[in-house]
């Protein structure tokens, strides 16, 4: 790994040069397949042999680091306001207690704390002291960044304490990457003795440093590959968790992991980087900057997950995580079967009139022609049950009775011929209906993002109009007259 230096002047005195820096080398599996140097007595050993020892050891270490432990931040390297700059925290809840980000900074300087990371090539990135960066100055070197206008929630996610505040900002990712700089130039002698003529100059060390810079976008697969640029990596386009047989389900998961890890072991990464956080440069932060002094430019900084990918310390992980898992499994009353996994619901939101001339089932709408309907946002777990609740009050004309039913995915569920979600109401005495039941997974069948709608069948009271014809049976839900109706479905963990 020696570097020939044609531009260095060197004589018998110490060499003086300006060494060029370069980014760390790309990672590729063939590059790690180096032969192991071996030596024998009487062998003439040159720089190639000595460097082969170093290269072999570095490659082995890097290979294990990136594939066994994984790339990411091992600790530190947090992005915060530079000393002296005032900032507002934007996050809520535990996140706001655990760190400073997301935050808005009155100014453009941030400080990156000391820390260690491993990039996707297995290189160690060590920052030994805090580094102050001027994001505005770095942004000048990233002209391809785009100005975007979005709400705080869109930019920072659900943690944003003022989700609707709109800001116009330029988004960057602050990345760390290996930078190698040749150092310690020494004279090269032409002969076996130290007094032989010096014929050149070469660097005898390589300083491994960290370069911090901005990039305007990341490849979609960055969280897997750790590469700023696109690679051949492709996430398998499969849906996991739908197999009814748990053994098949498990095998599918392991096949998925094998596929992903196989690709990660063999892809070539041209620019391994570790994202430290997102920084957004803005001149008009709106109310986000309330209480801060005026500044020509502000920074919105977020160095939390998912952009910042921590790699757990094995010691910490094995000490702490089993307790978390085991406590939950064995004794925790907080996380247990019976938990409500997800909830969906709908209400009648305007006057709805059901007019029937037959006893056919008719769908109840929520407003205008939209059906009163609720659908789970996610697939139901295969072992979960579904709690269904429908309730309404109504006014009827010429109705003797009404049969209400709730359809799940368009089907009236029943066991042994007995419907689960159906009831008959004597409308001459009652003007309200309630259906509530828990449908077990054995009745629900395939796990889906289930959807329910409500239907009613009206039986005429037999009244005639002035001309002697049968009057239609009508049922009215009118929330302006206190006749409301609502349906709620909840997934209950099994």
């Amino acid at each position: 790994m020696s570097t020939a230096i044609a531009f260095c002047t060197c004589g018998c005195q110490p060499c003086v040069c300006t060494p060029p820096s370069q980014l760390g080398s790309a990672s590729c599996l063939p590059a790690a397949c180096l032969p192991r140097p071996t030596f024998f007595d009487g062998q003439v050993i040159g720089s190639a042999d000595l460097n082969a020892v170093v290269d072999y050891a570095r490659n082995q270490q890097a290979l294990l680091a990136r594939l066994l432990g994984g790339w990411g931040i091992l600790g530190g390297m947090r992005v915060d306001a530079a000393p002296g700059l005032r900032a507002n925290k934007l996050g809520t809840g535990n996140i706001a207690q655990l760190g400073n980000n997301p935050q808005i900074i009155a100014g453009t300087q941030v400080q990156v704390s000391p820390g260690v990371a491993i990039d996707a090539a297995g290189n160690r990135l060590v920052l030994c002291a805090p580094v102050v960066l001027d994001i505005a100055a770095l942004a000048v070197q990233t002209p391809q960044a785009q100005l975007t206008t979005a709400t705080c929630a869109q930019l920072l996610g659900p943690e944003c304490v003022n989700p609707t505040v709109q800001i116009t900002a330029t988004e960057f990712f602050l990345v760390a990457e290996l930078m190698e700089t040749p150092a310690r130039p020494v004279g090269r002698v032409n002969g076996p003795g130290s007094c032989d003529p010096v014929v050149g100059c070469q660097f005898s060390r390589t300083v491994e440093d960290v370069r911090l810079s901005l990039i305007s976008s990341l490849a979609d697969t960055y969280q897997f590959t750790g590469c700023a640029d696109a690679t051949s990596f492709s996430l398998p386009g499969v849906t996991l968790g739908t197999a009814g047989d748990p053994t098949i389900c498990r095998d599918e998961v392991f096949a998925f992991i094998d596929n992903v890890q196989g690709q990660l072991a063999s892809i070539c990464c041209s620019r391994p980087v570790v994202v430290l956080g997102r920084v957004m440069l803005t001149r008009a932060p709106g109310s986000l900057a309330a209480g801060l002094p005026f500044a020509p430019q502000y920074l919105v900084v977020s160095d939390g997950y998912p952009c910042r990918k921590p790699t757990f310390q094995v010691g910490w992980f094995t000490k702490t995580w089993p307790n978390v898992i085991c406590n939950n499994v064995t004794s925790s009353p907080v996380i247990s079967a019976g938990s409500v996994v997800q909830t969906a619901g709908d209400n009648v939101r305007g006057p709805i009139t059901i007019t029937a001339s037959t006893s056919d089932f008719l769908t109840i709408n929520s407003i205008a022609t939209s059906a009163l309907s609720a659908q789970l946002a996610q697939l139901r777990l295969s072992t979960s049950s579904l709690r269904v609740t429908f309730g309404a009050t109504f006014t009827v004309t010429n109705v003797a009775s009404a049969q209400f039913r709730v359809l799940v995915d368009g089907v009236e569920l029943a066991a042994n011929g007995i419907p689960f979600l159906s009831t008959n109401v004597d409308t001459t005495r009652l003007t309200q209906v309630n259906i509530a039941n828990i449908v077990p997974p054995s009745i629900l069948g395939e796990a889906r993002a289930h959807q329910v709608v409500v239907q009613v069948s009206l039986t005429s009271a037999g009244q005639l109009d002035a001309t002697g014809l049968a009057k239609p049976a009508t049922m009215v839900f009118d929330p302006s007259k206190f006749d409301g109706a609502s349906v709620v479905i909840q997934e209950i963990a099994g």
Binding site: Q154, P163, D220, V329
Partner: protein
Amino acid sequence: MSDCDWQGTGVFGTQVLAPGPSDLPSTELNLVQQDIEEVTPTTQAGGVFTDVQVNTTGDQLAVTLTRTRRTRALLVSVGFTGTVTGFATASDLAFQVIINGSPVPATPTDNTDVLLVRKVHVDLTPGATTFQSSFNLSMTSLIQPEVLPNALQLDFLVQFSFLASGLGGPQITVFPREAALVVKEIGPFSLTT
């Protein structure tokens, strides 16, 4: 979301890479509830909505929820039974849940249609075949954030009103019930909440 939001790839939104069912946290957060503590009669004040009371010392059927997000839906459940007295005719009996002093609009721009309302029919007409002096109120409703007041602290209050006019001093008597009013904040489908 940003380019580095790998959850957007869809794979990790499915079930298998999540913990098993027993490891999932509940998405029902910040539960607040109020019991009806004893048999409690309440006379309607004039022709306006009157607060349902939970004891004879005059405490209201009410809860206060301090929610963590203004972006989340709330699940509101009301359930109790009772009887009516103090008049001798038929009437509808309306119930409503108001939040921070106002009914909940059906849509952000609609003040006519409201949510969290129900109506039951009672009939104290002497000798009537439709005589009905008791009532059962049961309501569970998911309220979306866009129709809720723009505040983190929400005060829920259950009220009643007889809709027939000229009833004199109509009265309802509610019976003891645990969790007669329950409000829950519905969190996201998440493994970390």
